[in-house]
Amino acid sequence: MLSKKQARAFFLGGTLVTFLIFIGLTIFSLSKDVDQTNHENITEAVVRGKNLWDSNNCMGCHTILGEGGYYAPELTKVIDRRGKGYIKAVLMSPVAWEPNGRKMVAYGFSEEEALDIIEFFDWIDDIDLNGFDTVVSPLAKDNN
């Protein structure tokens, strides 16, 4: 029968081993040779776009890379679906954008800010998502 000491060894040993493997896999999956995060293409405009994305909590309604609020559309591959002109108009709209009666906050971004956010979306679109991009975006180029 299992003793308390053995049970403790199972807990401590198992935790240590799995955590070390986890750290190892983290280093591996972010290492240069297998990196698929599209990190090399991050520009200053992309970073500004991400900061606007974060500071306005866009993820509170939308999803991106499948993560977010489930209240507004997934924005991975949004440029393929809608085109840059449409997105720019939504971002710069001084009144709440209201497709099908569901309102978006009227952020009224400047043209420069809107372009930065579009750059961010553009960068997102070139990440290798292990196939998720084709599922999530019915009009994505890869899917047609």
Binding site: F22, L25, C61, N100, K103, V105, I127
Partner: protein
């Protein structure tokens, strides 16, 4: 109650209840918005309601965990807390930081990172607050007469929860790495170290309620938390399938996520078996309801419903849909909300001296809230599955699909009303117990 300083727990629990009610208010705002009624959009847009709903959940659960620690540690370590004054300072500062964050969310002051929306400046105050908390708990434990496994597991959970907050504060230019390390906090909290906290509280409650030998309960506690980490740490991989990192996570995440229900199953079996084995029939039936309920519902919500969409082949379609909300609601409710309500139900009569055991109001609170939450889970689940088929399979537009599933949010709101009725009854019970008193110290011969 054996030590006067345990009374501090009452005020942490009271803060928990207050924030819990507020969380539910914002939940309704979101439910109505999904159903097509977003009349509050100009004052409280959806992203504000969402940030408030999620962060209030985190803060009220943390306040509950801290209250649990302030109640359990003196009894386990067999000494008073080292400083009651500092514990109150910590309580007030926790409330202030929480309220400041919530107010900020209404004025576009946040970080758009799900579950970690608290702005960076306040993050530092959270760290100071948690360090103060850990200081009080660790010093009490260190100076105590004994160090039990229950106390160690609980404290370890709280310590690592604090440590794991730090990766969430790292700044990243890439959305991918930002998300990657955000899960170090969120996943390793809820499917890792928070389960240590849950296990510690569960173990304490089972020892008190069933009378089964501490050695037996604590041995199985080690096995369960061992299984939790064995599956949960590498199970983090299920968040990495489709966010832009290597395919290796599809294999690792898939295998270890599939093992995660085992830890919850073990916890449910453990709790039920200890109850059956126990010869002591503690009169606090409500505490027993919540304790066994937490173990069983967490298995269904976190274990089974998590497994329902954790395999990469399924998750490819369900990732980023309401299916996640289905799992999230029952998992948080079963694993964490119910265990906090369990320790409150157990400790409240001991702190106040009012033995309101097994009241019909208390039983209604349990059943209404649980049936309501199960109904909500089903509503989310149906909406989520319909969304997956229409949007991901039939390739319909997002908003067209949202129109189709609005009806499920009417059902959700109805079930949420039942759930809230249960919670209100619970809070009435809480209030009826009155305030904690030193006179309660000798009235606890049965605990």
């Amino acid at each position: 109650m054996k030590y006067k300083s345990q009374k501090v727990a009452y005020w942490f629990f009271a803060l928990s209840m207050l924030l819990f009610v507020l969380q539910l208010v914002y939940g309704f705002i979101m439910g109505f918005a999904h159903a097509g009624f977003d009349g509050l959009h100009d004052i409280i847009p959806f992203n504000t309601a969402k940030a408030v709903h999620l962060n209030l959940l985190v803060v009220w659960l943390l306040s509950g965990f801290m209250g649990a620690a302030y109640y359990i540690i003196p009894e386990e370590a067999q000494r008073e807390l080292v400083s009651v004054k500092l514990a109150y300072v910590q309580l007030i500062s926790l409330a202030l930081v929480g309220v400041a964050a919530i107010i900020g969310f209404h004025f576009n002051i946040w970080e758009g990172r799900k579950f970690l929306e608290i702005p960076r400046g306040l993050d530092y105050l959270v760290v100071i607050n948690v360090l103060l908390f850990l200081g009080i708990i660790l010093t009490t434990l260190f100076k105590g007469k004994r160090r039990t496994t229950t106390a160690l597991v609980l404290t370890m959970g709280l310590f690592f929860a604090a440590l794991l907050y730090l990766p969430g504060m790292l700044p990243f230019d890439s959305q991918v790495t930002d998300s990657f390390f955000r899960w170090w906090v969120v996943h390793l909290w809820v499917e890792g170290v928070w389960e240590l906290i849950m296990g510690g509280i569960l173990s304490f409650l089972l020892i008190k309620l069933t009378g089964v030998d501490r050695e037996v309960i604590e041995k199985w506690l080690y096995v369960i938390v061992g299984l939790t980490f064995l599956s949960g740490v590498l199970g983090t991989g299920h968040h990495y399938y489709y966010i832009g990192v290597n395919k290796i996570w599809l294999i690792v995440g898939g295998i270890f996520s599939a093992l995660e229900p085992l830890a919850f199953l073990a916890m449910a079996l453990f709790a039920v078996n200890m109850y059956r084995k126990g010869e002591k029939k503690h009169p606090n039936k409500l505490a027993l309801y919540w304790t066994l309920g937490a173990a069983i519902v967490s298995f269904v919500g976190a274990g089974l419903l998590g497994f329902a969409h954790t395999l990469p082949q399924t998750n490819l379609y369900t990732h980023g849909t309401l299916v996640t909300a289905m799992h999230g609601h029952l998992a948080f409710w079963g694993a964490y909300a119910m265990i906090v309500l369990a320790i409150i139900s157990y400790s409240l009569p001991n702190m106040t001296g009012r033995k309101l055991y097994d009241s019909s109001r208390g039983r209604m609170a349990f059943w209404f809230s649980n049936i309501g939450m199960i109904g909500m889970t089903v509503a989310f689940g149906v909406a989520g599955v319909v969304q997956v088929y229409l949007e991901r399979k039939m390739k319909m537009e997002f908003m067209e699909v949202q129109k189709e599933i609005e009806v499920h949010f009417y059902v959700l709101i109805l079930c949420a009303t039942l759930f809230v009725t249960g919670i209100i009854l619970y809070i009435i019970d809480f209030y009826k117990h009155g305030r904690p008193t030193d006179e309660a110290i000798d009235l606890t011969s049965t605990d």
